[in-house]
């Protein structure tokens, strides 16, 4: 019963006639019954049932299983912005190398854009055996349709067995479109990837329910197996400058490079000077900050530490700080090496956005605040005394 994330299993008292709609099991004084209005056939209950009484049968459609063997190799979509490869792509190359070892296959990067020759060496040094390079002026900046068209052409031509992509704004929009068109399974925002030793397929682990549960997912009968991967989870392989690789330059008909939606302008916001998702240190404020003017002391501390300022939903909803700073379920997910939570109580929907931080320091006047249950270090005190004191202390010790 507890295994079911949808609350679909109930204990019913005996006696009970089983209809064709019930799966009834005898369990002590009652039977467990599944409510099919709530059951989503996710299969979470099958393992935990001690009596092995639950059977989930799936009719597989005529998936082209015979052709699965034609698909080989692990691809990583290399995300570039303004001609520069983004760090998540290096993380994925490293992970792809590890997976490729278990499958005895090669790692290829897919790089789309224009004038990118200066980026190729780093990709090879970080793990790519091959790079599929598609360049055209129309492709200089990311657009959903044109990039999807190119990916689809490449996937159909070269048949990779696995395609990985960063779970970024670009990545998640792009790969969703590709997966539908090439009829592939796609798992979003993975935090764990592995290869099943028997079946030689990709095991994709990712959070759901705002991070309250983890799910492991497979796409056994469809190729390629596609996954977007969370940023700052997979470690980057150190660059090996002795590595060699092949660059395959592909060209397609101009119609492939067109996009009906047109990119008019890219506007970088000076405010988010330190990009929240990239920041190694985040100083974050919640309801306890009391008002927008008080965020100044957080900015000062963040500045001394070289970090960014974050906020809980309560602070953003109160209008004290823009939404771009929001951390949590409906804001950003961050995983900095240090997260300082100031006047934040620690509701689940905030925790899911920052609980992967390496070290959490919580400052709150309420000793019972839930945040103290997950903080590495906690200070019970007045944030308006503690934070300036910390800023002063770090200014001295870090000589900033």
């Amino acid at each position: 019963m507890r295994a079911c994330p949808f609350d679909a299993i109930r204990m019913m008292d005996l006696p009970r006639l089983s209809s064709t709609d019930d799966i009834s099991l005898k369990k002590g004084r009652g039977k467990a019954v599944i409510d099919f209005n709530k059951c989503t056939l996710c299969g979470a209950c099958i393992d935990p049932c001690k009596f092995k009484a639950i059977l989930l049968e799936k009719e597989t459609k005529e998936a082209p299983t015979a052709h699965l063997k034609e698909y080989k190799g692990i691809w990583v979509f290399i995300e570039q912005k303004k001609g520069k490869v983004q760090s998540v792509s290096y993380e994925l190359l490293g992970k792809a190398r590890e997976l490729a070892g278990k499958l005895s296959t090669q790692v290829s990067g897919v790089l789309i854009g224009n004038d990118l020759d200066d980026q190729l060496d780093e990709l090879i040094w970080h793990g790519a055996d091959n790079i599929y390079l598609v360049e055209a002026p129309e492709l200089a900046n990311f657009q959903d349709e044109s990039y999807a068209n190119v990916m689809i052409q490449l996937v159909r031509k070269y048949k990779p067995e696995i395609v990985l992509c960063g779970a970024t704004s670009i990545g998640r929009s792009l790969i969703s479109r590709v997966a539908i068109t090439v009829n592939a399974g796609l798992t979003a925002d993975c935090t764990g990837l592995d290869i099943d030793p028997q079946r030689k397929i990709l095991l994709q682990t990712r959070p759901a329910f705002g991070g309250n549960i983890m799910a492991t997912i497979i796409s056994p009968n469809y190729r390629p197996q596609m996954a977007t991967v969370r940023h700052k989870v997979m470690p980057i392989m150190p660059a090996d400058k002795s590595r060699k690789g092949k660059v395959i330059r592909e060209k397609f008909d101009a119609s492939v490079y067109t996009s009906r939606a047109k990119l008019i302008e890219i506007v970088d916001e000076i405010e988010t000077l330190v990009n929240l998702s990239e920041a190694d240190i985040i100083v974050s404020g919640g309801r306890g900050m009391g008002g927008p003017e008080n965020f100044k002391i957080l900015e000062e501390l963040a500045h001394v530490l070289g970090g960014a300022v974050g906020a809980s939903r309560a602070a953003v909803d109160s209008g004290w700080i823009p939404y771009s700073h929001q951390v949590g379920q409906t804001g950003r997910t961050v995983a900095p090496k240090l997260y300082i939570a100031c006047g934040i109580s620690g509701q689940i929907q905030h925790l899911v956005g920052m609980q992967s931080s390496k070290v959490i320091l919580a400052i709150n006047k309420d000793p019972d605040a839930p945040i103290f249950k997950v903080a590495t270090y906690g200070i019970v005190g007045n944030i308006f005394e503690v934070i300036p004191a910390l800023t002063k202390k770090f200014k001295e010790t870090l000589k900033r």
Partner: protein, 261 residues
């Protein structure tokens, strides 16, 4: 303007708590709500209709209880609601879900724009919106934080990116997924709530959609869940009370290596 909004009914995850003894979700009494991001899509649809005239239709794929979500959308100002409900849809992953929704949209056939929330708070995939666009071969813009202008069958929108935003012009018909920044969802008026109470919800089954049985439900889903588990809970550490200066000295010492390293 003909607007279609796709929504999902989800459990209220903010209410969901972990049982500290068993490390599982406590699901008793957890309410079902409209997926938070979809509220912004509904609100934007109503605003577009108020500005340009026309009709807004909301659709959802779910069990019969999802009707409540549709009624709530009507109370906010949506004109028509359609429930896609069929045993055959159970077990759908994002591929099958986006296919099913796209079948319904094909059946509605006349539309200018489709609005979706960025992602659902239970699945958290953000895949269904772009998936629908792909099934219907429509242009898409995701993470829309503002619709700047609607003119000559085109929309000029702002798309939220990690370091700022992009301005994109999308021809209609097209699909947008929206983020929180786009608006503030209204509280339904009394009149709206009465409309919702009296509203008749249309229900379509797999047959009504003429959906290919190979592409829906468990059968139509390329991905499968093999395991669900609760992540090991993060443990609390040292808590300091007392004199501010002393505490700050201690903590700064503990954190110095973390900051520099």
């Amino acid at each position: 303007m003909q607007i279609i909004v796709c929504i999902k009914q989800v459990p209220e995850t903010t209410q969901v708590k972990i049982n500290p003894e068993t490390n599982t979700l406590i699901r008793e009494g957890v309410e079902s709500i409209i997926n938070p991001f979809d509220m912004y899509a509904i609100e934007e649809a109503v605003r577009l209709k108020e500005k340009f005239g026309g009709k807004a239709t909301v659709i959802t794929m779910g069990p019969p209880q999802a009707e409540a979500a549709l009624k709530e959308a009507i109370s906010m100002g949506i004109d028509e609601a359609i429930l896609l409900s069929d045993r055959a849809f159970a077990g759908s992953d994002t591929w099958a879900t986006s296919y099913t929704l796209s079948c319904a949209i094909k059946k509605i056939s006349k539309f200018d724009v489709i609005l979706c929330g960025k992602q659902a708070s239970d699945g958290d995939t953000a895949q269904v919106g772009p998936g629908i666009a792909a099934h219907l071969n429509l242009p898409q813009v995701t993470y829309v934080k503002k619709i700047e202008e609607v003119k000559d069958a085109k929309m000029r929108v702002e798309r939220l990116m990690e370091e700022g935003f992009e301005i994109i012009e999308i021809p209609l018909p097209g699909l947008l997924t929206v983020v929180k920044e786009i608006n503030e969802p209204r509280i339904p008026s009394l009149k709206g709530m009465m409309r919702a109470k009296q509203a008749k919800i249309t229900t379509w089954t797999a047959n009504d959609l003429q959906a290919n049985p190979d592409y829906i439900g468990l059968k139509g889903s390329p991905t499968q869940v093999v395991k669900i588990f609760t992540p090991p809970p993060r443990q609390g550490g040292q808590i300091f009370h007392g004199d501010t200066q002393e505490t700050v000295e201690k903590v700064a010492g503990l954190l110095k290596d973390v900051i520099i390293g």
